[in-house]
């Protein structure tokens, strides 16, 4: 073939030949030569040496040849900027050509040549083309503005192209509108705060009109842009939804999914009792199901999105279980995704069908798929209690198949079932024990050992079983070693007489022969516990365990909300926010769903640890509209808020200090008189409040409450830690999410704190027992005690943490909210309160107002009580309720407050007095 020949040209001498051909007089020969050049370019050969010769061919009336030369130019102009200038004249001339196709071609190509000098010449032609009479030229010019902006953003702004582009949104031609929207959206993305895409009801109306008329791709651009708009009210929201719904019947899946995105987002604003809301929900299901009959790649994207949609609004697809049944010849990636969704949709109503299917899948060929199917059966058992029995018997059947990986996977999930339903299915333990020898994966071995240890009293030969593992102790993975150690200690506590030797053996193996510090530490702890106080040991080791939560793999609600805003895009495929995989400023803005976030939170499944961001919304709702509260607030969160409220007065003043500690003393009485060591944490509380009750001007100060990334993956070889602090039932907890963003599995996690102001220290080891596979996250709650070594930190609530895993040790520091330190016994005697109050110099008092708090004094007092801020006395003076309150920090420092509530006035006045005699004395 001739063209095969084109592709197989070899380099030597060829350049010469081509040069000659390019300069030939014959048009045909020239064209063939340019073709050869392009072919070489495609396969990656450097033909830049031919630049002048190729550019010479540009002056031609042969459109095909021209396009080829342009293609060459786009590739090589950057490497030969000086030569590229030679082409400018032709471009400028072409932009004046009577043929619109040529005008468009010139402006399209020019934008792709990223050479500064050329860019300057581009401006004038571009300006003309943006106003060209032909829509084809205008639509090309619109995209060219985005190209130019990518090269030189300043230039685009200076030349006023952005305004011209905005005008094009009102163009009469739908395709021009669509391209202008696409270009503007892209430019706006790199200017997050510019109000570039000034979306208002008028422009929205124009877009919706163009939506009916433009190409499928244009419809996608417009829908994606619409999704960024926030309607003013539910009526506008409904009217947009009504005009978008017809798109759900488009043949192009991308149009459908983008329409789904708009609807999912705007639906948040519709009242639930509205008829239309129900109609809309019903309309969403069929198109989503239809996506599953598209090509497999599209099915995959659709399934990843459906996974999100099902988590956000399970009601949409709850009756569509059957369509997610796996087909025998689905590609593996489709199968795995379908399985995930099946589990999410599993309910009491359909569990029988689901189980029958899962059982079928467990006999398939693909190992990953089979494993996931087995695991899914276990998850069904945990999710649907009524089905647990059937699930367990299915798992037993599978164990009987003796297929190695099936057995191992089954044992791992049965362990979870035991944790959900303790003491219910021990009858199966005998069967499990039969398979002990075939287990070769650490996770399965660890699970089996855990089961044996947990039910040691019911397994006659538990000691023998565990002893058999002990033989190869040093060859086991850490996971198994730790589990074995614990299991044997459990066994010893249950049957002390027969197993003394065994426990000594394992303790010495763990403490003397192991070089793993975790194992050693755990060994020592057990050893000491057992030798000093066996009763205490029993209480610790055999303590009742909390039941495991219903669903463990749900996406964290704030992330889910963000991903819903990104339906159809890569973010929704990866289930990661764009900032996780996009470089630079693009796509870094976090999108949120509109409407009351509180409503969203109350829907969120309770099993997921709510992020602080959401709690904020929740609290806001609770405080402002008490009658509509749906449930009691989580104790931790209200504690935080109320703490903030009362500390506010002191906090505000101390803020000055915070800003500039050196100058603080020069400012005058109140701040200077505040005990310095106290001011800083108080301001921590203050920030909480700013966002909660009042939402004042300091918007970026949410740091103490929201879940934040403490340790970015980049700094810790792929380990990312984010988290927050809460106080639950008197226990301070550090709640963390550990995410493995590296390629390898992480194990052996441990944590340690540096000395800090309030003596915070971990009260137990970091409970991350399973290895963390790549791209997996795990949530861990670390209880904290306040009896650790104390050292004053700057700022006072700073905490330095070290986290270790099998890869390395990493350090980070974070700040905790002061309100978390309020103790339960912070109620002062009346007399003492009065005396203390009087004792405090007036200078130490500070005042602050809380605005727009519509609680009466009793309700406020109750709420505060929930967060360990106790009302000592209440007085009514001139229509004002005065609440006197006290709180105590964990290190024994008292804080007193006076809260003035005036009926009918939503603003509270808070006076805070912090008297810390000792500290005061030291300071004065």
């Amino acid at each position: 073939m001739m063209c095969d020949f084109l592709f197989s040209l070899v380099c030597t001498g060829e350049i010469f030949e081509l040069k000659a051909e390019l300069n030939s007089d014959k048009k045909e020969k020239k064209k063939e030569a340019v073709k050869k050049v392009i072919a070489s370019m495609t396969v990656g050969k450097d033909v830049s040496a031919l630049f002048p010769d190729v550019v010479n061919c540009m002056q031609t009336d042969n459109l095909e040849l021209k396009k080829l030369v342009y293609l060459y130019l786009m590739n090589y102009a950057k490497s030969q900027p000086d030569m590229a200038i030679m082409a400018v004249n032709t471009f400028v001339k072409d932009c004046e050509d009577p043929n619109p196709l040529i005008r468009a071609l010139a402006v399209r190509t020019m934008g792709c040549i990223r050479v500064d000098k050329i860019t300057e010449y581009l401006c004038e032609p571009l300006r003309k083309c943006l106003k060209d009479e032909d829509p084809y030229v205008r639509k090309t010019a619109a995209v060219c503005v985005a190209k130019l902006h990518d090269i030189n953003a300043q230039l685009v702004e200076d030349q006023g192209f952005l305004d011209t582009l905005k005008d094009l949104i009102s163009d009469s031609n739908p395709m021009v509108v669509a391209n202008a929207v696409a270009a503007l959206s892209e430019i706006a993305e790199s200017h997050p705060n510019s109000n570039l895409l000034d979306l208002n009801p008028q422009t929205i109306n124009k877009l919706l009109t163009a939506l009916n008329e433009c190409t499928e791709w244009g419809q996608i651009f417009i829908l994606d842009c619409l999704a960024n708009y926030t309607p003013r009210d539910d009526r506008e929201s409904q009217s947009i939804c009504e005009r978008v719904t017809p798109r759900l019947s488009h043949a192009n899946s991308a149009v459908v999914l983008s329409a789904v995105k708009v609807l999912m987002k705007f639906m948040e604003m519709l009242p639930k009792d509205l008829d239309y809301y129900g109609t809309l929900l019903k309309k969403l299901a069929p198109p989503l199901v239809t996506l599953l009959s598209a090509e497999p790649e599209l099915q995959y994207v659709a399934l990843r999105n459906i996974n999100l949609i099902v988590q956000r609004r399970p009601e949409i697809l709850k009756h569509e279980m059957k369509v997610f049944f796996v087909k025998y010849n689905d590609p593996i990636y489709v199968k795995l995704e379908k399985l995930d969704i099946m589990i999410r949709l599993a309910s009491q109503a359909n569990i029988a069908q689901v189980l029958a299917e899962l059982k079928e899948y467990a006999t398939e060929v693909d190992v990953d798929f089979v494993r996931k199917a087995v695991r899914a059966i276990g998850r069904c058992a945990i999710k649907v209690e009524q089905s647990a029995e059937r699930c367990v018997s299915t798992l037993l059947d599978l164990i009987q198949t003796k297929v190695n990986y099936v057995v191992q996977e089954a044992i791992v999930v049965i362990k979870d079932i035991f944790r959900k339903y303790p003491n219910k299915y021990e009858s199966v333990i005998a069967t499990l024990c039969e398979n002990l020898d075939s287990l070769d994966e650490p996770e399965a071995r660890a699970a089996m050992i855990w089961i044996v240890g947990e039910y040691a009293e019911r397994i006659d030969n538990a000691d023998e079983l565990l002893e058999s593992f002990l033989e190869g102790f040093h060859d086991e993975s850490t996971q198994v070693q730790l589990q074995l150690l614990t299991a044997i200690v459990k066994l010893f506590l249950k049957k002390p007489t027969e197993t003394q030797e065994l426990v000594q053996q394992v303790l010495s193996l763990a403490t003397q022969d192991s070089d793993n510090p975790d194992l050693r530490d755990r060994g020592y702890i057990y050893w000491r516990l057992l030798s000093t106080d066996p009763v205490a040991a029993k209480e610790v080791v055999l303590a009742e365990k909390p039941l495991i939560s219903e669903e463990t793999d749900l996406i964290e609600p704030t992330l889910l909300e963000e991903l819903i805003c990104h339906i159809g895009t890569l973010a929704s495929v990866y289930h990661k926010p764009p900032s996780a995989f996009v470089e630079g400023s693009r796509g870094v803005q976090h999108k949120r769903l509109p409407g009351s976030s509180a409503a969203g939170v109350s829907e969120a499944p309770p099993a997921v640890i709510p992020s602080q961001g959401d709690l904020l919304g929740d609290l806001l709702n609770l405080d402002l509209t008490p009658p509509t509260t749906t449930g009691p607030p989580p104790p931790a969160s209200s504690g935080m808020q109320m703490g903030a409220m009362d500390l506010l007065g002191g906090g505000l003043d101390s803020l000055v200090l915070l800003c500039d500690p050196q100058m603080g003393t020069g400012f005058g009485a109140p701040p200077a008189a505040m005990p310095a060591s106290f001011n800083v944490p108080v301001s921590g509380g203050l920030d909480d409040l700013f966002d909660l009750g009042v939402s004042l001007e300091i918007p970026n100060k949410m740091i103490f409450v929201s879940v934040q990334v403490w340790l970015p993956a980049m700094k810790a070889k792929g380990l990312e830690i984010s988290g927050t602090f809460v106080r639950r039932a008197g226990v301070i907890q550090m709640e963390m999410t550990l995410t493995n963003k590296a390629m390898s599995v992480m194990t052996d996690f441990a944590i340690q704190f540096n000395r800090n102001s309030f003596g915070l220290a971990p009260a137990g080891p970091l409970q991350v027992l399973t290895p963390l596979s790549p791209n997996q996250s795990i949530e861990a709650a670390l209880p904290l005690s306040t009896v650790g070594p104390v050292m004053k930190m700057e700022p006072l609530n700073n905490l330095q943490v070290a986290v270790k895993n099998n890869i390395d040790v990493f350090y980070f520091s974070c700040q905790y909210p002061i309100s978390m330190l309020f103790a339960e016994d912070g109620k002062m005697e009346r007399q003492v309160f009065l005396a203390t109050w009087k004792d405090i110099p007036n200078d130490n008092e500070s005042q602050f107002q809380i605005k727009d708090c519509h609680l009466n004094s009793d309700a406020a007092s109750n709420k505060l009580q929930g967060s360990n801020i106790f009302t000592i006395a209440k007085r009514t003076v001139e229509g004002q309720d005065m609440l006197y309150q006290s709180m105590k920090l964990t290190n024994g420092i008292w804080v007193l407050a006076e809260l003035r509530v005036q009926a009918g006035n939503p603003n509270y006045t808070v006076s805070t007095i912090c008297l810390v005699l000792e500290i005061c004395r030291i300071i004065n």
Partner: protein, 436 residues
């Protein structure tokens, strides 16, 4: 948006490489080859992220098409675009093979320049593209001014899929209702899942810019008419109407009109196109019923009996019937007896394939097989894959009927009656499986 588009042959050699964005370097071409095409393990996702660059790929025979980006693009759009790209190429030069791609590389570059601008898909309707991307570059110079503006207004206009001034001596329409019926049945004959996915495919050879209206026995429409129209008519047709779960349309169909009135009106593209796709799950006529009977006789023998029953009007004939009965991996020999057609054991496929050319409705046929097994010590039980079936029947298993297809062309002097219309129904098996 899409940062670049590459086409590779099965060896991973790049045939076409077009970069649209500055953030995509030449090394992206190699990254995809190394990590996906040459990957040791089978690639488990059509989207892969390599060094913070995302690759989307589809495969056509042994040609790889890959779109590359570093941004958070609309993933659905990228795949839709890749399919569209395949369609466009196929419309220009037929099958997408290495040879065809190499022979048409100039054309492909020209197309890529036109339908993807800075990574944004532009009009990609072949009807429109063929008017100005012709591979005869010189000819395009001779367009008159009118022709040029006609081209540009078509490419950018509302009816981007059809050009003006089409003329036929004979106005003709071919309409095919193609359905594939999918079934998963339990060994006891219980329907686990069944659905029909159908397509209405048209070939239109009509002059001018005709306005068409398509009607079928959609339950919603019939019920509505039943209420307003004469009761007799409603009762008669109501019986035959079908419930459509969902449908999607070619971009020529006015979706807002369908949404409000449920009427399907459009100006058709010229030539072949797919007017709509639909899906039904209720009252499906399952053309065949498969009744399997598997008996394990000891450890070295299996007895399999499969009965198929045709379940449609006896005047109709099903064709190309094929039943595929999987056999265990350790099969050593098979003896077959069938009443009709031909059956063969295919060792390479681990299956007995039974073919019957034709079978009328309301008939029954059966095959019995004795499978000898080699004794193995493999603990793993045979998974018993489902028995699958292929066939073709001359009716629509969903029950869909075309009620009318009206053509109006106000400017030219031909009427609906002058158009010759052909309608055909074909029902094929999709994934038609019975577990055994």
């Amino acid at each position: 948006m899409i940062g670049g588009l590459f086409i590779y042959n099965h060896k991973g050699e790049v045939l076409i490489s077009r970069v649209y964005r500055d953030d995509i370097g030449r090394n992206a071409v190699d990254a995809f080859r190394v990590n996906v095409i040459h990957a040791r393990q089978q690639v488990r996702s059509p989207v892969s992220n390599i060094a913070r660059t995302s690759f989307f790929h589809v495969k056509r025979s042994n040609i790889w098409l890959a779109a590359v980006t570093k941004q958070n693009v609309n993933a659905t759009m990228v795949f839709e675009f890749l399919y569209k790209m395949c369609d466009v190429m196929a419309a220009y030069f037929g099958k997408i093979s290495e040879e065809n791609v190499k022979n048409n590389f100039v054309l492909i570059y020209e197309l890529l320049d036109e339908i993807l601008d800075f990574g944004y898909p532009q009009n990609s309707e072949t009807g429109a593209l063929k008017t100005f991307i012709t591979q005869q570059g010189i000819k395009s110079q001779h367009h008159s001014k009118e022709e040029q503006s006609q081209i540009t207004s078509q490419v950018t206009g509302q009816i981007g899929w059809r050009r003006e001034g089409i003329k036929y001596r004979r106005n003709e329409l071919f309409l095919d209702v193609l359905e594939s019926v999918n079934l998963l049945m339990s060994p006891q004959g219980q329907v686990l899942s069944a659905h029909v996915s159908g397509r209405v495919v048209m070939k239109s050879y009509l002059s001018g810019m005709p306005e068409c209206k398509f009607g079928m026995n959609d339950k919603i429409v019939i019920d509505k008419q039943g209420k307003t129209g004469s009761t007799e008519d409603g009762a008669k047709s109501g019986k035959q109407s079908i419930a459509i779960d969902d449908c999607t349309f070619h971009q020529c169909v006015r979706l807002s009109k369908f949404d409000s009135e449920r009427s399907i009106s459009f100006i058709p593209p010229d030539g072949d196109y797919e007017l709509m796709r639909y899906r039904t799950t209720k009252d499906i006529i399952l053309p065949f019923r498969v009744i399997p009977l598997v008996r394990e006789v000891g450890r070295t023998k299996l007895e399999v009996k499969v009965v198929i029953k045709s379940n449609f009007k006896s005047s109709l004939l099903a064709q190309k019937i094929e039943v595929r009965i999987p056999t265990p991996l350790n099969t050593s020999g098979v003896q077959l007896i069938c009443m009709k057609g031909k059956a063969k054991y295919k060792a390479s496929e681990n299956a007995i394939v039974w073919k019957v050319k034709r079978m009328a409705g309301m008939k029954e046929s059966q095959i019995s097989a004795e499978i000898e097994l080699l004794p193995t010590n493999d603990k793993k039980k045979w998974a018993r894959p489902p028995i699958s079936m292929n066939f073709e029947v001359p009716f629509a298993p969903s029950g869909l009927k075309v009620r009318y297809l009206k053509v109006f062309e106000p400017k030219l002097n031909y009427s609906d009656h002058d158009v010759i219309k052909w309608v055909r129904y074909i029902g094929r098996s999709g994934i038609y499986e019975t577990r055994c």
